[in-house]
């Protein structure tokens, strides 16, 4: 009936020393993954869209479709 005395102190410290670096690393990984998985493609998509964007042409197309209230389609 002589068991070794169990560890009584420093339990929270031990847990934090183990889990805190893992938490930091995983947070950084998550941030980097989001940046290169989401924000960079999104920025590229917007850049590509506006490279070939003709605002006047789009405006006239929308005008002919009749969605504006200030400008009616040419013809009315």
């Amino acid at each position: 009936m002589s068991l070794p005395k169990p560890v009584m102190r420093g339990l929270l410290g031990k847990r934090l020393r183990f889990h805190a670096p893992i938490a930091v690393v995983l947070s950084i990984v998550a941030a980097v993954a989001f940046k290169y998985g989401v924000t960079e493609p999104r920025k590229q998509a917007y850049a590509d869209f506006y490279k070939q964007y003709d605002a006047v042409k789009e405006f006239n197309a929308m005008r002919e479709a009749g969605v504006f209230e200030s400008v009616r389609p040419t013809g009315e």
Partner: protein
């Protein structure tokens, strides 16, 4: 039970004085059992207020006497018997898991299913017709207007439509 003994002493004195004062009244209220300290097996409160066994049998009483001496003289069975006098269940026994969660989850699913039936009945017999904005024809006109307005043309809805060929992008 210590509290009951104290109250009995007080009561004896109170009877002798209050008889003179109040002329024959008992003076002390009966002690309700639920007001006295109770025994609970709880992981969060490891040492309950009272021992589990309050009325010791003669063997248990003699064992308690032996406990007052050197503990090295106690055998393993005697130590376990002393433990069982003080406590009802060991930590391992009181914190053991059970299969209750299966019943709980099954009950949850059953209730959710029953609620689904009630909601279905409601949809059929309580609610009136949906607005005209749900008609297929209205929805077509709505979609056409969304595309005409060039909504979300970069990454969203409008980006999926091919405006040159008037069709969805492949």
């Amino acid at each position: 039970m210590l509290a009951a003994r104290v109250l009995r002493l007080v009561g004896k004195r109170a009877i002798s004085t209050s008889v003179c004062v109040r002329g024959g009244h008992a003076g002390v209220a009966k002690v309700e059992e639920y007001t006295l300290p109770a025994y609970f097996d709880l992981r969060e409160n490891p040492l309950p207020d009272i021992s589990y066994v309050q009325n010791l049998s003669p063997e248990q009483a003699s064992l308690k006497e032996k406990e007052k001496g050197s503990w090295a003289a106690l055998s393993d069975e005697e130590k376990i018997a002393l433990y069982r006098i003080s406590f009802k269940q060991s930590f391992a026994e009181m914190t053991r898991g059970s299969s209750e969660w299966k019943t709980v989850v099954a009950g949850m699913f059953f209730v959710v299913g029953f609620t689904g039936l009630i909601v279905l009945w409601q949809r059929m017999f309580v609610y009136g017709p949906v607005p005209r904005t749900f008609d297929a024809e209205y929805k077509e006109k709505e979609l056409q207007r969304v595309l005409d307005m060039r909504m979300n043309p970069v990454e969203g809805f409008g980006s999926k439509w091919d405006y040159e060929n008037k069709q969805w992008k492949k």
